[in-house]
């Protein structure tokens, strides 16, 4: 009888303990996206005929998935800048949509700094969710972490941004800020959160390779939701004891990570990316209305009168010789970057404009590519080499023909390619082949595009740089403003001048 009572007691204890364990288990869902870059409307990715993305369609799917499980909706940075839909409201449109979608937290990405510190502060204050940046020193509105409860489970969310942020935006945007090492920062805040949260999640805008390193080196991270490298992680990766995910780019996919948590431990997980396509009737109408509202504003901004040109702007002859439009754009780039000179490819200028009223959309036609201004140090010898390359295909009207500012040069097309330049002056003085000059260009040429090796080779010695006095101080790279398209810089310039009348000044002379 006694044994029977003991057995019954043990069974009851076992049942109670199992019931208790079940009661403590929570099934939660992490929904995530990264590197949206303001791609609110469905779009055709490069090389594809298929429409993808569309934030109203993604929002609808978020709502459906939320109904199935207690969920968090997170963004791993680079949300507010990129596409015109975002840029022309300086990112306000994105924050409005994110508020409507009830995001729980977002990490700042390097491109969140692109509109300047004042705009970022405004966007942070408009956001109904915390924007996190644990390794950013000097901007108190960026919180290091937040703790969110999901069905009683406390999830600590730490935000990290790439340490490379200073080279990916205009130096003035990050002046006075310090981007601390992500590993040490993660160690510090994981330690701080471990006693306060059941699950520690890092929202990382540092890149997938860094996320793997974080997982290997920092103990105590349960989940990393990543961004920055635009990586399409189809299934969650496990490194160390950490689950790593990332959801591609431009709202083309929504990340779904389901986790079962028991006594502060993740005991099971399953994840996937759901690709987003615009299917009629499958959109969130409230979000669609915001997308449309800002879309109409984009149209209005593009139709806006920005100034008047007193002369016709020649975009037809930019592959054959100096033109007034080439001079105008090259001058603006030199002024914006503070460089000694500008060299751009004539082929980057796609059309000319008639004299009269100029609208923003006209400049978008002239400069349709998403190019930005870069400036590097080149020797006089390298500049001469770049110019030689630029004129080497003039007889075939090759797009590499240079348009310049701060430089005058003379060439003969009848001379052998590679030896056509007969004279080069910079700032009115003969070029010194051994001296270094700062030269502005677009990022396409700076990467060696159109065969401009002189610019491409500058990458070989640009490792050690720092920001000082609002400018980059490094071996070769002196300026990079990837957050502002060249066409927008040109529009701002014309708006400021109101009336323009650029001319051909004899910067490029052909020997006859």
């Amino acid at each position: 009888m006694k044994n029977l009572l003991i057995r019954i007691s043990l069974v009851i204890i076992l049942i109670l303990s199992v019931t208790s364990a079940d009661a403590e288990q929570t099934d939660a869902r992490i929904l995530y996206m990264n590197d949206f870059h303001g791609f609110a409307e469905p779009h055709r990715p490069l090389g594809s005929d298929e429409l993808m993305g569309g934030i109203s369609y993604l929002a609808k799917r978020v709502a459906e998935l939320r109904r199935e499980r207690p969920s968090l909706l997170l963004a791993a940075g680079d949300m507010i800048q990129g596409n015109n839909w975002a840029n022309l409201s300086l990112g306000e449109s994105v924050i409005e949509v994110m508020n409507l979608m009830r995001f729980d937290a977002m990490a700042a990405g390097n491109h969140e700094f692109d509109f300047g510190r004042a705009v970022l502060r405004e966007r942070i204050s408009q956001a109904a969710f915390p924007i996190l940046g644990a390794n950013v020193a000097g901007l108190d509105l960026l919180r290091p972490y937040v703790i969110r409860a999901v069905d009683g489970v406390k999830i600590g969310i730490i935000g990290l941004v790439t340490e490379d942020a200073p080279v990916a935006t205009h130096p003035k945007n990050v002046e006075g800020l310090r981007f601390l090492p992500v590993i040490e920062t993660a160690e510090r805040y994981v330690r701080e959160l471990r006693g306060r949260a059941d699950v520690v999640l890092i929202l990382s805008h540092a890149g997938h390779h860094i996320d793997r390193m974080l997982a290997e080196r920092v103990r105590g991270i349960d989940i990393i939701v990543g961004g920055h490298t635009h990586t399409k992680v189809l299934k969650p990766v496990v490194a160390g004891n950490t689950i790593i995910v990332q959801a591609w780019e431009h709202g083309k996919a929504l990340g779904v990570l389901d986790v079962s948590i028991d006594n502060g431990k993740i005991i099971a997980f399953e994840g996937r990316l759901e690709e987003i396509r615009p299917v009629q009737g499958r959109e969130d109408h409230a979000v669609a209305e915001v997308v449309q509202k800002y879309g109409q504003r984009v149209d209005a901004v593009l139709n806006e009168e920005i100034g008047v040109s007193k002369v016709e702007l020649d975009g037809e002859n930019v592959r054959l010789g100096e033109t007034n439009l080439g001079n105008l754009i090259a001058d603006i780039m030199m002024a914006a970057s503070g460089a000694d000179a500008t060299i751009i490819n004539g082929g980057g200028i796609r059309t000319g404009l008639k004299k009269g009223i100029l609208r923003a959309k006209d400049i978008y036609s002239v400069l349709p590519f998403d190019n930005y201004i870069v400036a590097v140090r080149l020797t006089g010898k390298e500049i001469r080499g770049a110019l030689e390359h630029g004129v080497s295909g003039v007889e075939n009207a090759e797009g590499r023909f240079p348009q310049v500012s701060g430089i005058t040069f003379q060439y003969g097309r009848s001379l052998p390619a590679g030896s056509r330049i007969t004279e080069v002056m910079i700032s009115g003085k003969p070029i010194d082949e051994s001296k270094e000059y700062t030269v502005a260009t677009n990022d396409f040429l700076a990467a060696g595009g159109d065969g401009y090796r002189a610019f491409g080779d500058a990458g070989k010695a640009s490792k050690n740089f720092e920001i000082a006095g609002g400018m980059m101080k490094g071996e070769r790279l002196v300026y990079s403003d990837s957050g502002r398209w060249l066409r927008d810089v040109v529009i701002e310039y014309i708006k400021g001048k109101k009336v323009i009348s650029p001319s051909v000044e004899g910067r490029i002379r052909e020997l006859r």
């Binding site: 594809s48 990129g82 890149g207 700076a446 491409g456 070989k460």
Partner: protein, 60 residues
Amino acid sequence: MKIYVNDRLIEILPGMKVRHALIQAGLITEAEAGRLVYDEWGNELGLDGALSEGMKIFLK
């Protein structure tokens, strides 16, 4: 910044992205025609994805 594109070393300026590495490697037109870029673990990358020192990418 040193990057490997299809196992070939190329060097680009800090802060540049996947598309710039492909320009430098002379492969951008192939990406524009629809070929895809992957990282060393086989994950597809967007052309605006960030790069870092020593990263290996593959155009397939």
